[in-house]
Symmetry: C2
Subunit: 353 residues, 2 copies
Amino acid sequence: MKESNSNSTGVKEIARLANVSIGTVDRVIHNRKGVSDETRKKVNAIIEELNFRPNKMASLLARRDQVNIGVLIPKTSSETNYWSYPLVGITQAVDELKQFGVSVTHFFYDLDSKNSFTTASEQILAADLQGVLLAPSFIEESLMLTKKLTEANIPFVFINSDLPRQESLSYIGPDLFQSGRLAAQIISMMAREADDIFIVNISTELELDHHLLRKEQGFRKYFEEHNIANTILTLNINHTDNQSVKKQLSKALASAPNARVLFVTNSRVNVVARVLADHPQKLILIGYDFIEENIRCLENESISFIISQRPKEQGYQGIMALYKHLFGLGDAERTNYMPIDIITKENFHYYKN
Amino acid sequence: MKESNSNSTGVKEIARLANVSIGTVDRVIHNRKGVSDETRKKVNAIIEELNFRPNKMASLLARRDQVNIGVLIPKTSSETNYWSYPLVGITQAVDELKQFGVSVTHFFYDLDSKNSFTTASEQILAADLQGVLLAPSFIEESLMLTKKLTEANIPFVFINSDLPRQESLSYIGPDLFQSGRLAAQIISMMAREADDIFIVNISTELELDHHLLRKEQGFRKYFEEHNIANTILTLNINHTDNQSVKKQLSKALASAPNARVLFVTNSRVNVVARVLADHPQKLILIGYDFIEENIRCLENESISFIISQRPKEQGYQGIMALYKHLFGLGDAERTNYMPIDIITKENFHYYKN
DNA sequence: CTGAAAGCGCTTACAG
DNA sequence: CTGAAAGCGCTTACAG
């Protein structure tokens, strides 16, 4: 290790060259008022010439700002641990950033209860927050919240699903349509000509929204574009318990003897795998989300493919986007689509996102 | 934004509580000598109690250490731009770290010339480097270098391929065997019973080493384990030009009329795609590496799947591992296998690694 | 073995 | 509009 030569560039050197004080240099760097045009020009010219970039560490150290970010996401339920992954990413980001004065306050809601979302929203608005990261699962309720946040001038970032036309800083999450296309491509390569294909949407009315439909649209679009002749059937199951799924699925399969491939449009694919365990014919199953239940099904080969969209990274990038914005370190893109990962029995072990 | 309450913990506060100077606190924190056992204990107790973690920024700022890391990787050739991706990751890491005093000196070698590797090695040893990131493409030559580095007490990290039993800090790259298994799984799901499968190794003698063989081993292992009956043939092509590939491939395919799936064990899969363009039968192609030539083949559907192992991230993590080690911020695992990503026409667009 | 002082490269009141 | 001084939380000589 060597020590740096300290006569290098820095506010001090710039001040010397411009014949001003370092305070003035600081004012120019941050576009603060109280500097004559002439001085500003002179200093800026030198900054240009030296290609000066302020030392972020020193800056952060001297400012000792603290920001508290509110995080509003569903709580991990007994049904799925999906939301534990974004949480890991959030925690990781905060661990890296706490030395820069970033902290987080968590607010969880229940995916089965709009009320819990509204309650959490009120807590968020009452808290002293400088930014909010949220998963806007309920559209109307989310709009209520983001409207207030916008009024209060509190920046926010969406993860996992988007609410277009909002004043959000960023959306970080999947491109649902495209992920449906990817599922279609994989299936089209595996299916035989005579195979019928089922699209299975499992969802209570609460959730049966744009989400699953967008995936279905992408899926069907792919088959259309490629003129693939397989019959594609849709099965909507609006109860999520094993019994209901089993009943409706059995009925549907009984009436479609050629069905050999099932595309389940959300993480409940493991429920399908389970109720299909005693099905006479071997079916090909593909579904969504890197959650423990699904991984176990990959292991026992009852599910062939899982599509995952880096839940951990969504949380991580969400916090990072807020941090950079709050500290004036640059803004992320408005829309950030995650890579669409294909997970199987042979590669889930190294998947860390 | 709020300002932090500055009466919080810090060396100053610890010094006050322990009735010593902050210099002594610093000595204890970093286990420097010149502190009596008694004082050390007293200070450590307080550090414990306050759960004190030194402020990394302030520490880095005060130390103003500079490290220069040597990077030894193949140069991007006209044949493949593979190595431009790790380079992107390296550059990104250095951009983030230069504020912490990290810089990089690049040394490139030619994958077709062991000599160029040796020459670059000498330059590395002559340079004033605090760490080295290298892709040890040539085993003997790499061993020569790492031996000297170890003697000189310069830490090094391997990316892309590993040299076990070396004193490297870390290996960051693929698990070749497992990626072969993954290829086998995908193919086993797509192939019909009557299809013959070709494993195609394209490589000049220089490279025809453990690399491709490990992938082939993983591939065959999967088929064995699953008792899949397809015939698996191996074709070794030891010239990399289009003409040679075309000739040997045509010959092999002529003698195997049932061949319908080709697994190419490296990035040259695009060459195969090209020479197969006028092949009468539609073949399924799967190969390695997220490089432009291969992406184009995904687009025109002449390649079905590409396996990629996050080349960008390898470079990024390699630099990070060295940085953390050099600044005493913790060491990475000895072996870091990258996720094994499956890339197709429908998801390459969002793949950023 | 220990302390006091200067300094890292910035920012922030405060004074003029 | 501008400057001088103090401070962010550490580390580094230097003195004793």
